[in-house]
Structure formats: structure tokens, C-alpha cells
Subunit: 516 residues, 2 copies
């Protein structure tokens, strides 16, 4: 495999699993001229009344043209409560299939059960986000081929552009009709949007909706549209509703996290963004939620209304929407049940497809309309490059989410993170893996200081008399190193176990095997 | 041009304007195996904040790569109140462009102003429905090339499959934001759905939203999504609101029309379809509206609720929805302002894209979920073939609408028409043009008798003791001929001015030049 140096100085391969790829050349360097989207097969409406219902997963597997090496996909709206990925893989394993390319939008700890199937070769590799032990298994070199990590926008692009061809998309739905119209807002397993699967339903050769709640035609709203669906499978349960909602969305009580959130909110105020029409996106982690709370208070005090919040819905945003300090929530996933309820009931809470939200290969995406993006990190380096995927020991433990898309789109991108975790410095000379190039990161907020990217002189100017603990990033690093000590360089194996794709499909970085 | 005989015995060309085409082989004969959809160019999101607004139509025309022979498209949701088609063509004519292929979803009498541009060669020909004098001009051979007529579903298919390539889609919207999200339910020019343009926005090389109501981002609902839009043009007015709504949607007072509607409704009752969960589609003509009224009364009396009405929204359906005798309206266009209001306010009144509604080259479409389809006709022949496009003098004066899609999809397809108009028989030995093959037509209801297609023995059986005036179609024709006389055969020119495409792209019939 030929290796080339990319614009960040990282050595990256020129092909991945036999597919030629380009090195990263800059956040907006790709001009894509002359290329065309993937052209899915033309299907055909059959005569007579349409009923696509099959009463068992085995029944539908009997009907599908399955083969070794096929690529199958799933959404992760059911999060850690998902039953479907394990269920489908187990059945495919029993049927003797191997070398399956698994292309979920994300995997959670509930999917740790897949590891034996990775070890036995039923699953060749993953193209998608891995949270938990499947990522660890990848790090230890247990996948036969190279995994590919993509952001939300990068995944939509890859499917749309034909880089990721899906043979069969499996789409869990908390409500569906016999024709395949489906949503995630009705029924006992309601999880919010199904929008992560929208592109799969459009481009996969076969799409299968799996539901535990068959409703009379038409199933309204139709987040997934029956015209893109081949079969509807009924099962007893698609997931454990108690686990569907992320446990991480509770408001933090950590003084450090609260301080970081407060600094970030004050920074936004100091630069003049707490204003009428503000648009913002913050994740669902403890700091992000607390940031939302502080921001909401500031906006209320100032009597201004935000235009829209983007990303994942949560109870804090829903409260803002219902109190009138926020006009719209546009989201692709729900982090708690309040958000699910709001999406179901409030017409100003809107489901957005990943293409609408994040796709770089579109004529614009919502992320590019954001004023403020607040994002987390596992590592940040002196060039403001950010890592959210691996830990400093090299282990791949987290998905990418919409990070690169939000960072690329937001007017001001703010990273919030503690300066160290368990005596491991977050601010350091080099990140283990680049998830997002520093050119897109404007501000880093830690409990120990705030660093502004020198290219944002405007922000430096606006905050110079703010009283906020603003300092150069190398100074912050030195302070942290004094506490943690200088981190040791981790020795990694040569083998590349995963590549990190940039939004445009170019290779940003590689993830190497961790020595056991 | 080589001519071949198709499955209806009609002689049709094997190519149209240089594009190879297949003869019609049967309503569901096309198996499409191995073909792929069109692959639109991959666009690219540009860095920084997105603002696509251009303050004049000339401004956007300056930015577009226009050329002679290009294909431009429009939707017809503004109906006879549309300003945009004339406005754009006039500007293109001034810029000296010629041989433009005009691909509107439909043209109305307001577009009679295009005729000089057809005569001067600015417009080469039309691919789309023509209502009024543009159709007449086509009939008289004024278009340089052969026009193509398609149903709603046929048009979506043609664009999706690459048979109709659109260079620039112009999309009028009564509300839009700077990014191109747009709808037709808000603003002074509200016309209802924009769903006819959905496929254009997805497949055209360039999409331009034209609005007289720029709203703050995000424009919700987003019937057209900004990620598929290149430019947003602001103009003073996109149409005359008074003319946007069709004048033909008033309830009829004609005793003949009322009798036909009553017969049709009684027929539906006799065959046992006035039942819980009924789904139906009837157009917006006088008979269809009256049919809806009779049906609503019957359902109320029986205490049953319809599951959904499909097609064009109107005040009768809205009343049913609001009274609870109808669960959902799924529609692609609004025929009156009550429907526009309902679509805006009622979550059970849903905008459906043409692909969801009618596309034969999809994994199903809503039309195929219909119990009852009620449709009009200009001519019907002894084989139950129906013509809705031309008059018996050969003049092309009407668009196809969703006729073939509804006829193909409905469990029971009922044609309602007077037995003759102005002493011209509607029931006759041969139709001038075949819009829909008789294999899909189940029942013909006239004021003078009801004819059931012999292939529907089940319907004949169910209604034999109904007291309805059921008779063989040749008997009805003889009765009509006794009043009107036997119609004379019209002498037409050899030149083919238009072809009638079936839903699958095959050629159903040709329209020949009318001698002047």
C-alpha cells in the first residue's frame, strides 16, 4: 500500500480495501468537478395492491439476494437499546455468511456482542462510528479489512457518491405501514427521527423496514417513504425503550464541567453572539447541556430569541422552544424522551435528514448556517487539531458524529473539554488521531484557560477586556504538563486498522493497531 | 422515422427527437431489469455562510450557464395565476436563446403568451401537459420538434430515469429562505404543495427558487430543500393569487353531472366499498367533486371513516377531514384555498411528492394503494380505452394529470363522463388518442347508462340486482349514436406533433397534426 503525506503532514494510504482514495488537502479544497452521484437500480412498482409485510426476519432473509461480502446498514437512533444489529448479524452468521461489511451510522456498547462475529470472520470490517468494545476490537486488529470512520455528513456523502455501496439497509422503525412508510415518533419504541437511514433507503439496492408497531396505511409522518422500501418485517420488539435514550444527557453536577460551560457561554456573550436570531449547535454531553442552560438564561435575560438549534434534540432545547426563546429545532436524532415528544407534537421541531444537515456534497447544508458550534474532544494539539475518536493510548473508542461538519460550518467553533482527564493531558503537542483539522477550530475552552486560534484576530480583539482567562495554547499546555507530566509517546503497531475520512472523502488520518 | 405497432395496435415511432423509445407492450409489461437511475452531478457546499439570494431574475440568468437547446422546467401549482413561465421565457428570448425545451408539469391558458416564442423558435417544443392554446399550437404543427406528453408519474419517472434531463429548474415558492428551503403554504401567493418540483430539484443541474416572500432561515416546512437549490431569486410577485385556484372546483349544478356523480357513488356502495378504511381519489372537475359529496354523505350515514383521499386537495375533502369521516389527505396539489389552509394547519393533511404518489419506477406508490379511482374522459372506446388529451377533432387541449397512474393503481377505476358533449359522442368505436389502455378501466358511468368492463365479472355479479342502469358498452354507444349520429372520421395530417408516453416510458400513441 502506497503512503502519501497529506496537508496535515500525516502519512495516509492511497487506497483503502482496494478503493483508490485521495489524501486530505484542506477543509474546503475538494472541487469535485465533473463527478456524478451514484445511480441506484431502477425499481418497479408491481401491479395490484401493495403489501410488503413479512412476519419474520428469517422470512425476509429468505427473500433477499444475500451473499458473502455484502454490505448491510443500520441507523443508531435506538442507541444502546438497539436489538436489530445483533439480531440480523446472528441470523446471517447462522446462515453461514462471511466477510460482511457492516455499515451502521454508529455502534454502542450493546453491540459488543458482535465481537465474536468479527473474530470469526462473519463481519469483515465496519464502515461507521464505533462506540465501545467494537472500536477496541478494531484497535487490536481484529477486523479482517480496514475500517472507515466518517462523520455524519461524510457518511451521507459516501453513500450518495457511491463510495459506500449498501446492498441491504435494515431500518428499525417504531411505526410503519404495510407499504413501508415509517417513522420513529409513534409507538412504544419511539426514538425520534429516522433520518440517519434516509440516504440508505434512497441508495441501497434493498431496503427493509423492521417494526414492532404495524399501523394502518398511511403511516404519517413518513420519515422513511414506502416508495424506497422493499419489505416490512414485524418483530416483537426493535429495542429496549429504557436504553434508547442516552444516559449521558443528564445535566452535570461536576464543578469543572459547569465552569467550562459557563466560560463557553460567557465567551459567546462577549463576542456579541447572544443576540436575536442566534443559531447554535451543542452536543448532548454534560458540558454541552450545561452550556445550553447558561445560554438560555442569557438569552432570556437579554430578551432575544434564537432562530434555530441544530443537531440532537434534548430537554433543554425543548424547554427553550416551548418557552419561546428558540424558534426551531432541526435535528437528526433525539437524546431524550422529551425531545421525542416534542418532535412528535411540535411543528417547529423538525426532522432533518443527514444530507440536509451535514452533507458537504450538496448545494449547502444546515451546519453551514450555524453561528456557534460547541463540540467536545479527547485531545487537542498546538495547531488546534482535534481528536474525538481515539484515546491517548491509541484505542478507538468513540464515533465522529457531526463534529467535522459542525466545525466546518459554524461561524465560531468552540471546543469544550477539561484540560486533563485522569492525569492524561487533553491539550498536547500532537493528537493521536486527527478528527478535525485545526483550521476549523476557533476557540478551546477548558477549566484552566481559554485559547483562541491566532487566525481569529477578530475574536481575540473582542474578548481582550472580557476578564475571561484567555491565554496562548502553548502556555495552557505547559500548565497542564506541569500537573500531568509530559505524556509518553505511545508505541503503535504499523498496521493500519482504520482510516479517518474527511467530509469530502479524502483521508485525514489513519488509526494504527494497538500493541497488546 | 421507423414506425412499429404497439400492444394496442397503434403505430408508434421507435425514436422521438433522436432518443430511442419502445412501443407500449402492456400496462405492467416493463420489467426494467438492469437499468439505473440518472446520476446528477455532485455539487459542493461552499465554505462560509450560505446566502443564495439574487435580487432579480436577470441577476440569476447572468450566473447560470445557459445555452441554446437547454431544457428548463417549472411546476404548475400556481395554475392559471402563474407569472413565472412567461417571465422567464420572455427574458431568455431577449437574450437571444433558441430551441429551448420547455418542461413544465403543466401549462394553463395564462401561458398562451408563449405561442409567439414557439412560432419564432425560442421554444423548440414542450415536454409536459398542455391545457389550452399551447396545445392547440402543438396540434397545428407549430413546434419544431415532437412534444412528449406524460402523466404525473411518467414525468417523475422520466426525470429520475434520465429520459428527461433538466438543465435548469425554476421553482416558484410563496415562501423561501436565503438558503433555498421553500414551501407553498405560507405567504400571499400560497398555492399548497410544491411537490411537483421535488424531482426537478433533485435531478436538475441547476435549481432556482423564485419567491415573493423571503423569510428568515429556516423556512419551515421545507417542501423544497435548500441543499438542492443553487439560487433564490426575489421578485415582486410570483402569481395572481385570485387565479392560482382553479375556477373549475365549484360544485356543479348541472343535473346531468349530478346524476353521473350519484350513479358513481351508488355503484361504489353496491360493490361494498363504502366501508371502514376506504381509500379513494377523484379529480377536481364538477362530477368528481359531486361524487365526493355523495360519498361523504353515504359514509356518514353508514358511520364509517375513510383512511385516505389522494390527489388534489379541495374543500369537500377538507370538510370530510375536519368532520372526522376521513383520516388523511395525501396530495400533490391544491385545487382551492380551503385545501391550502388545511395543508398549512392540519398535520393529517400531507404533502406527497409525485414520486411517492405516482412513480411506477419506485418500490410502490400511493396510487397503487387506492380502492377507488374516479376519473374523467373526453372519449372512451368499445375496448374501454380512454382519451383525456385530445378532442374528437384531433386538437390537443388537455394535460394527462395522474390519470394513467390512478387507473393503474386503483382497485376499481371508474370513468365518469356525459355520454355526449355538444352532439359529439364520448362513447365511440375508437378514441382519437389513447391516454390509458382499456385493460385498466373497470367501469364507465354516464347519465345514460353504466358499462362494466367484461374482465370485471366480480363487479358485474355484485351489481346485477342493483337497479343501476348497467348495460353493455356497444349498446350504450348505439343509443348515443342515435342522438348524435355516427361521428365522422377526422382527417389528420401524417406529421406526428406529439407522443403519448406510458408510465414506464413506452409509447402508447401519437398525436398527429390537425389540418388547418
Amino acid at each position: 500500500m502506497q503512503m502519501v503525506k497529506n496537508a496535515l503532514g500525516r502519512m495516509v494510504p492511497s487506497e483503502v480495501n482496494g478503493r483508490a482514495v485521495k489524501p486530505f488537502e484542506g477543509a474546503f479544497a475538494d472541487m469535485v468537478s465533473g463527478k456524478r452521484k451514484a445511480a441506484p437500480p431502477i425499481p418497479r412498482c408491481f401491479p395490484g395492491r401493495i403489501d410488503k409485510v413479512v412476519n419474520s426476519l428469517d422470512g425476509v432473509l429468505d427473500r433477499l439476494p444475500l451473499r458473502d461480502g455484502m454490505c448491510i446498514s443500520f441507523h443508531h437512533h435506538l442507541r444502546n437499546g438497539d436489538y436489530l444489529v445483533n439480531m440480523v448479524i446472528e441470523k446471517l452468521a447462522r446462515r453461514g455468511f462471511k466477510d460482511i461489511v457492516l455499515a451502521p451510522t454508529a455502534l454502542f456498547p450493546v453491540h459488543d456482542k458482535l465481537i465474536p462475529y468479527i473474530e470469526s470472520g462473519v463481519i469483515s470490517h465496519v464502515e461507521g462510528s464505533m462506540n465501545g468494545d467494537v472500536g477496541r476490537a478494531c484497535s487490536y486488529g481484529k477486523m479482517k479489512k480496514t475500517a472507515t470512520l466518517r462523520s455524519h455528513g461524510g457518511r451521507v456523502r459516501a453513500v450518495q457518491d457511491g463510495d459506500l455501496h449498501i446492498d441491504v439497509a435494515f431500518i428499525g422503525a417504531s411505526a410503519a405501514d404495510c407499504y413501508g412508510n415509517a417513522n420513529g415518533v409513534l409507538g412504544k419504541s419511539a426514538c425520534g427521527p429516522l433520518s440517519y437511514s434516509n440516504v440508505d433507503s434512497l441508495y441501497a439496492d434493498y431496503s427493509v423496514v423492521i417494526t414492532d408497531n404495524l399501523v394502518p396505511f398511511p403511516c404519517i409522518p413518513w420519515s422513511i417513504q414506502g416508495g424506497n422500501v422493499n419489505y416490512v418485517v414485524t418483530v416483537d420488539s426493535i429495542g429496549d425503550p429504557a436504553q434508547i435514550v442516552s444516559g449521558t444527557t443528564k445535566l452535570t453536577k461536576s464543578p469543572t464541567q459547569l465552569l467550562i460551560a459557563e466560560y463557553a457561554a460567557r465567551f459567546v456573550e462577549e463576542i456579541g453572539y447572544v443576540r436575536e436570531g442566534l443559531s447554535f449547535q451543542a452536543g448532548a454531553g454534560g458540558i454541552s447541556l450545561a452550556f445550553n442552560v447558561y445560554l438560555a438564561e442569557m438569552m432570556k435575560k437579554k430578551g432575544v430569541t434564537a432562530s434555530f438549534a441544530h443537531g440532537g434534540g434534548n430537554t433543554v432545547l425543548v424547554k427553550m422552544l416551548e418557552e419561546g426563546s428558540l424558534k426551531y429545532i432541526c435535528e437528526g436524532q433525539c437524546f431524550d424522551l422529551d425531545a421525542v415528544r416534542s418532535l412528535r407534537e411540535n411543528n417547529n421541531h423538525v426532522e432533518s435528514t443527514l444530507s440536509i444537515s451535514y452533507n458537504y456534497h450538496a448545494k449547502g447544508c444546515i451546519a453551514h448556517m450555524l453561528d456557534i458550534g460547541v463540540l467536545g474532544a479527547t485531545e487537542i494539539d498546538l495547531n488546534f487539531n482535534v481528536n474525538v475518536n481515539t484515546h491517548s493510548d491509541g484505542l478507538l473508542l468513540h464515533g465522529t458524529g457531526g463534529f467535522p461538519d459542525v466545525a466546518a460550518g459554524s461561524d465560531v467553533t468552540i471546543i469544550t473539554a477539561p484540560s486533563f482527564r485522569k492525569r492524561i493531558p487533553i491539550i498536547r503537542e500532537n493528537v493521536t488521531t486527527v478528527t478535525c483539522p485545526g483550521e476549523l477550530i476557533d476557540v478551546i475552552v477548558t477549566e484552566r484557560g481559554i485559547c483562541i486560534n491566532p487566525k481569529r484576530q477578530d475574536l481575540i480583539e473582542k474578548t481582550k477586556n472580557s476578564g475571561l482567562p484567555i491565554k496562548p495554547i502553548d502556555q495552557l499546555m505547559d500548565e497542564v504538563y506541569k500537573i500531568t507530566g509530559v505524556p509518553e509517546k505511545v508505541e503503535l503497531d504499523d498496521r493500519i486498522v482504520a482510516v479517518m475520512e474527511w467530509r469530502d472523502g479524502s483521508i485525514l488520518d489513519v488509526i494504527r493497531k494497538v500493541k497488546t
